[in-house]
């Protein structure tokens, strides 16, 4: 909840600012103290909170499934193995349904994307001020920082860097497999010789190029947009808590309702990201015309 010294807009801005580490204007390296400073750092800066959360969640994910994989047995499964097998079966079915070729990469890729994105989205359901306040407390008491300069965006997928990072990763795989399966010539031909035949190459290239570029952009922006909007609504609801008992109780109801609805969104967005990845890679493996 907003502390008394913050206005609503300051509260919102505080929640939407990443904890950015980079080079200050004066040449020294450090954390940005406000949005302007963070923007000033240019490209060679890093969002500590996003990176930290993605690595933490990815690490947890891999640790859990690795610990299952280490003592997996073909007999009667129990406990964690049941759960892991259920998830893996579900993803394997999805991959088999959409991906027609044979690849050792696609299924683990889809698995990583789905569960990782799901976990990152899931952070949206944590109470909105819990982790930022915790970070503020730790930052202020352990590192001696100005409490107002400790930003923490707990949902990594509301950071476009994260979604674009994964989308570009998928995009490179699409390019790689397109060239690997069709050859460089085949891939270029696919970009330039259709749909209008070889006399309309520029028009073809424009259309197919947009088509190609749209894949990672839409992949990244869909996830980012959905999670950003969801997070924004949580923030707006949280502002209601400081507006009197009636508004606060209404806000509580809204909070519950939106959180329940959001369970659907976070799962759906993770699933869409995974499915589209599979479909794009399937398209990269196939000759179209």
């Amino acid at each position: 909840m907003a502390s008394e010294t913050l206005t609503s807009s300051e509260y919102i801005r505080h929640h939407l600012q990443n904890l950015t580490f980079g080079q200050h204007h004066d040449g020294s390296w450090g954390l940005a103290h406000d949005a302007a400073e963070a923007a000033d750092m240019g490209f060679w800066a890093i969002n500590v909170d996003s990176m930290g959360m993605t690595l933490l969640l990815g690490g947890l994910l891999m640790w859990f499934f690795r610990s299952v994989a280490k003592k997996v047995e073909a007999g009667v499964p129990s406990g964690a193995q049941n759960f892991a097998e259920w998830v893996i079966d579900f993803i394997n079915d999805s991959v088999r349904g959409s991906f027609t070729g044979r690849s050792a990469l696609v299924a683990p890729l889809a698995f990583t994307i789905f569960l990782w994105v799901f976990l990152m989205n899931l952070m949206d359901l944590l109470p909105i001020d819990l982790v930022p306040e915790l970070a503020k407390f730790i930052g202020a008491s352990v590192f001696g920082m100005d409490p107002h300069a400790v930003f923490f965006k707990v949902v990594p997928t509301t950071d476009p860097n994260v979604t674009f990072g994964m989308a570009f990763g998928v995009f490179f795989l699409v390019l790689f497999y397109s060239i690997k399966m069709k050859g460089l010539g085949g891939f270029v031909g696919e970009l330039t010789l259709q749909p209008f035949g070889k006399w309309a190459m520029p028009a073809n290239l424009l259309l197919e190029g947009v088509n190609l570029i749209a894949k990672p952009i839409s992949l990244a922006l869909r996830l980012f947009g959905n999670m950003y909007a969801g997070e924004m609504i949580f923030i707006l609801i949280a502002i209601m808590f400081s507006a009197g008992a009636v508004m606060a109780s209404l806000g509580g109801l809204l909070q519950i309702g939106w959180a329940i609805f959001h369970i659907l969104i976070i799962t759906l967005q993770a699933f869409i990201f995974m499915t589209l990845t599979i479909v794009y890679l399937d398209m990269a493996h196939q000759e179209h015309h």
Binding site: T54, P108, N161, F168
Partner: protein, 156 residues
């Protein structure tokens, strides 16, 4: 929310996690799943085979029971026949033995009777002689009368 180097860090992290998953997580679990699928298929096949064998065994068991019953009936009838034979044989033996005992008893009786007759016969002559001698105390030709008497004894 600026685009910055986080995007590169994220791509590296993404690649690492996917590679890790591809190498250390996915294959063992999939292998286990496939192995179980195979095990289940094998188990079902074995169950089918077992059921088939059981059917055969049941059929065989019915047959064996049937044969055993037939054999038992045969044995019983044989035994009955043999029993009857034994009874008949015993009866015959008993009759023969009885006959034998009877004949030997008869022979003994005959023998006894003959001996008694002989004794009687030998004594009758003496008694008759004594009687005759008393009645005819004199003038009797011993010789002629003895011949007469002997003839008489022979007739008895």
């Amino acid at each position: 929310m600026n685009l910055n180097a986080t995007i590169i860090g994220q791509m590296i992290a993404f690649a690492l996690f996917v590679a890790f998953c591809m190498k250390y997580v996915w294959p063992p679990i999939m292998a286990a799943l496939e192995e179980r699928t195979k095990k289940i298929a094998d188990g079902l096949a074995a169950a089918e085979r077992g059921r088939h064998e059981q059917e055969l065994a049941e059929k065989r068991a019915t047959q064996v029971i049937h044969e055993a019953k037939e054999q038992a009936n045969e044995i019983i009838s044989q035994a009955q026949r043999r029993g009857n034979e034994i009874v008949d044989e015993s009866k015959d033996n008993a009759r023969i033995e009885g006959d034998r005992i009877l004949t030997s008893a008869k022979a003994e009786i005959d023998q006894e009777a003959n001996r008694a007759k002989d004794e009687l016969r030998s004594q009758v002559g003496t008694v008759a002689l004594a009687g005759a001698a008393k009645i005819l105390s004199r003038e009797i030709d011993d010789k002629a009368h003895t011949d007469l008497l002997e003839e008489l004894v022979g007739q008895i």
